[in-house]
């Protein structure tokens, strides 16, 4: 049986394809909005109230004290849901050229907020009848900080054309060595330096195998993670357990910035943090500036995009890749120490895949430091909630929230939402002919 179709000529431009993807994102946002409106909003008892508090537990002496904000659960979540729908519809109808991902991020944050409001409703299943929003932001900020260290490491390496899957391994190495150093020297500066050396060394191994022996970078990275996981377990058992004085579990002190830390709600989140947090902020600015405004950045990006072209104007491709990967490793190593400094005592396996989430944040952030920050914040919140929502006895399995970063990454990589393009020579071995 053959059907003769009327001959049609379809012109498909890349612009049109991008529009289709934009519409998909818009629809997705609207669907999340509908879920929020009807399940969280209309699904709540009309008389239910949710309380939000803003005074962090560790900052009782704050000069400000905001009372609890008590809202109607239904009204609050319906409004949030409608706002999300409006954002989604706007994207579908107008398909703006820029800022789609930012809007999507906003919807994701709003979704978390609606979820929290719903979870804290009273009467409801929760034993904690209020939600401390500031505490949640502080808790998430620690995770986001670690993820930002990791994804900045990824930016450094992949912009130069080397895939660094070993971020997780560099976290583990940094955390292990950092804990030993801080236990013996009581200095987080020494610990950070040691973590940087450790991460840089692991970067050197990756670079050496990838650049000298042209080994598959993904495989080398996975091997490094596995090796560090096992090695740290072994050393933990052989060294840290019998000699607990090497793993005393200090946490880094918070350094409050005068005045700024007193700002209500946001002050404690941004300006009453450990030194690692401020180092991270500086790194974000320096790397963004360096990569996109300076000679060094132009050369690194050229090496990651078209190494032959870079080489033809006298740029040393191999050396550029070595330095980028070692610097990237060092950044991830510091990230490991930062994690340790927040958690205390080193325990085997306690980075629990944060390095991979950082990699996901790198991709979601389109290989840009600014994008990586946005993605890390989003993923940091979702990981924190996944770890802490049990408290609120939410009927949603926390593992579902834990999957969020990966689901987003799959959606991004498959081109379902947004268009991402890695550096053209990312992961490609380079050989001078």
């Amino acid at each position: 049986m053959s059907v003769t179709e009327s001959p049609t000529t379809v012109a498909i431009s890349p612009r049109a394809a991008a529009n289709t993807r934009t519409r998909v994102i818009g629809l997705l946002m609207a669907v999340i909005g509908l879920i929020t409106t009807f399940i969280f909003g209309m699904g709540s008892v009309g008389s239910a109230k949710s309380s939000l508090t803003f005074t962090p537990v560790n900052l009782q002496s704050a000069p400000w004290h905001l009372g609890a904000l008590t809202l109607s659960t239904r009204l609050c979540d319906v409004i949030i849901g409608l706002l999300m729908i409006a954002l989604g519809v706007e994207v579908v109808v107008r398909h703006p050229a820029k800022g789609v991902m930012a809007r999507f991020g906003l919807v994701a944050v709003l979704f978390f907020l609606a979820l929290l409001v719903w979870a804290a409703r009273s009467p409801g299943p929760s034993q904690v009848p209020f939600i401390n929003l500031t505490s949640i932001l502080i808790g998430s900020s620690t995770l986001a900080m670690v993820l930002i260290f990791g994804s900045l490491s990824g930016v450094m390496c992949e912009r130069a054309g080397v895939v660094n899957i070993a971020i997780e391994g560099q976290f583990i190495g940094g955390a292990f060595l950092g804990s030993m150093i801080v236990s013996t020297t009581h200095s987080f500066i020494y610990a950070a330096l040691a973590g940087a050396v450790m991460g840089g060394l692991l970067g050197l191994i990756l670079a050496f195998l990838a650049l000298r022996y042209l080994s598959d970078q993904i495989i080398v990275g996975v091997v490094l993670v596995t090796m560090l996981g096992s090695l740290s377990s072994y050393l933990n058992l052989q060294v840290l357990t019998p000699y607990p004085q090497y793993n005393t579990g200090h946490t880094a002190p918070n350094l409050a910035i005068p005045l700024l830390s007193k700002i209500p709600i946001l002050g404690p989140v941004f300006f009453n943090q450990t030194g690692f947090f401020y180092v991270m902020l500086v790194l974000v600015v320096v790397i963004s500036f360096g990569l996109f405004k300076t000679r060094w950045g132009l050369r690194v990006r050229a090496v990651g995009e078209h190494p032959e072209a870079a080489s033809s104007v006298g740029i040393n491709v191999i050396r550029t890749r070595y330095t980028s990967v070692i610097m990237g490793g060092a950044i991830a190593g510091i990230g490991g120490v930062a994690f340790m400094a927040a958690q205390g005592q080193f325990q085997p396996g306690y980075t629990s895949g944060l390095g991979y989430i950082a990699l996901a944040a790198l991709i979601f952030g389109r290989w840009r430091p600014s994008g990586a920050v946005v993605a890390s914040v989003l993923f940091g919140i979702s990981v924190y909630l996944a770890d802490n929502l049990q408290t609120y006895q939410i009927p949603v399995p926390t593992e579902v929230l834990g999957m969020f970063p990966y689901l987003i990454t799959i959606a991004v990589v498959s081109g379902l939402i947004g268009r991402v393009r890695p550096p053209a020579a990312d992961g490609q071995p380079y050989q001078r002919d």
């Binding site: 890349p14 000679r295 033809s312 104007v313």
Partner: protein, 503 residues
């Protein structure tokens, strides 16, 4: 700048790619380096540009012996190279590409884009190379990208410009424009070394011609020499540049393509509404600048790319979106564009490659096991008939020269009963001898009443082989002309400029 090469020798193992090459390029001179693929031109240029180090010999610039540690050193010494495959970062702007490696900076290592733009405008004005410094490279047409390559070299104060096969990707009009640029550069005192195997271009532009063959300088020639003279110097024997093509009687349509739409890997309609017929006993040559949908059209024909809409029929049988196996059985012979990637399994023997499309058929296999004796004797016959130069049918096909690899594919495809034959870039990268041979085989099949489609970006080949010439531009057929049409007409069609009445 005066360049002198004295006794340059470069060996790779036991193979001598350059054998005591002497060459002098005077300032303001356009010096052509003419040679076949594999004659050693690219090796020589890589030596000159610091990418390879010569085993013997000297590079002398303005009377001074020089040694380049890397290409950056060559650039600093005033040598600029326009590579065959552009050395441009596609996602960077024109300005970023031009300054890469020699960036003007402000404090803190910040890039000084204002100074870069001023420099670029100055150079582009001086040499009539208009281009927007803020344009993104990948959004520019190929001709403009090449202009950026030249601009890049000039911005680095190149006094000697090497152009490596620069016309391969250009339309005839773009080639004219390039030649005008080369002339104005020479007039400004720059030395130009122009590498090519195209005789027409050599005669049009060269001041001096050096012919190299098998790594040696075999002659110097004048642009006034005839194409035949140049060709025989290049090949080392007399060659027949015209394809002997007896009159042929054409029959009915063998291939019919209707309103075909095919998307490329990015999802863009690379073939966008093509309707085309090829008759029995006819060679239809498909011309066009690379990347205008020819590749996707042929892939759709061969069943290795899915068809979005429209139909393809061979002898009235609908083969749209059929599997390659079904299409081969329908009588299609296919020589793919990239022979090493899609035409051969390089690590397998000549014999196995010769039966690659029929390995499970009688007599090469029965009851699930291969009959190697039949395969080998069949391979022996083909190697004889098609003059494939190989030590043995068991030799790994990757060890053969490009020309002989192509012969293996042609032999395999033409040794079945066919009704239609399609060949993409059938002579790309081949030496003149192999080109002659492949062309003869194609004409022979035409005499036997096959419908033939030849896709080529070499205009000479298109005009020599085609009974009709279809020109493709941006996924559409911009016109169909007879071989008597002028190069200018075809060139305009390639640029999509005019619609010409169908032949």
């Amino acid at each position: 700048m005066q360049l002198e090469l004295r006794g340059i020798t470069k060996r790779f193992g036991s193979f001598t790619a350059n054998d005591r090459i002497d060459l002098v390029v005077e300032p303001g001179q356009i010096h052509c380096l003419l040679g076949e693929n594999g004659a050693g031109k690219s090796t020589l240029m890589n030596v000159l540009f610091g990418l390879l180090h010569p085993d013997e010999g000297e590079i002398i610039l303005d009377g001074e012996v020089t040694n380049f540690a890397d290409s950056g050193a060559a650039v600093r010494r005033g040598i600029g190279m326009v590579h065959q495959h552009f050395m441009l970062v596609p996602v960077f702007t024109v300005a970023e590409n031009v300054i890469l490696g020699f960036e003007p900076t402000k404090s803190l290592g910040r890039l000084d884009y204002e100074k870069a733009a001023v420099d670029i405008r100055r150079v582009s004005k001086a040499f009539d190379l208009e281009v927007d410094p803020d344009a993104i490279i990948e959004e520019l047409p190929v001709g403009l990208q090449q202009r950026v390559e030249i601009l890049k070299a000039l911005n680095h104060d190149a006094e000697l410009l090497i152009l490596d096969e620069p016309t391969a990707v250009l339309t005839p009009q773009e080639i004219e424009a390039l030649m005008a640029i080369m002339r104005s550069l020479a007039a400004a005192g720059k030395s130009i070394l122009f590498i090519t195997h195209k005789l027409k271009e050599v005669r049009a532009i060269a001041d001096v011609i050096t012919v190299i063959r098998q790594g040696r300088v075999v002659a110097t020639a004048k642009p006034t020499d005839s194409e035949e003279q140049l060709a025989s110097l290049m090949v080392g024997r007399d060659v027949n540049l015209t394809v002997e093509k007896p009159a042929s009687t054409t029959g009915g349509n063998i291939l019919e393509i209707r309103d075909l739409v095919v998307r490329d890997d990015r999802g863009i309609a690379a073939v966008n509404g093509v309707t085309l017929d090829v008759r029995a006993g006819e060679i239809l040559a498909l011309a066009g600048v690379q990347g205008n949908g020819q590749t996707e059209l042929v892939e759709a024909l061969a069943g290795i790319r899915s068809v979005e809409s429209g139909t393809i029929t061979i002898n009235g049988r609908d083969i749209t979106n059929c599997s390659p196996r079904q299409i081969l059985d329908a009588g299609l012979g296919h020589v793919p564009e990239d022979r090493q990637r899609n035409g051969l399994v390089l690590s397998m023997s000549v014999a196995d490659n010769l039966v690659l499309n029929t390995p499970r058929r009688h007599p090469f296999a029965s009851r699930g096991s291969r009959n190697l004796a039949a395969v080998n004797s069949y391979a022996e016959t083909l190697v004889q008939n098609f003059d494939i130069r190989t030590g043995s049918t068991q030799a790994v096909v990757g060890s053969l020269s490009g020309g002989n690899q192509q012969k293996v594919i042609v032999a395999r495809e033409l040794s079945r009963t066919l009704s239609f034959f399609v060949a993409s870039q059938p002579t790309r990268g081949l030496d003149v001898g192999s080109i002659e041979y492949v062309h003869q085989q194609i004409v022979k099949q035409r005499g036997e009443g096959l419908g033939i489609l030849i896709v080529s970006s070499e205009l000479d080949e298109v005009m020599a082989l085609g009974d009709r010439i279809a020109v493709m531009h941006q996924g559409r057929i911009s016109g169909i002309v007879t071989p008597s049409a002028s190069r200018e007409t075809i060139g305009l069609l390639m640029a999509g400029v005019v619609e010409v009445a169908s032949a």
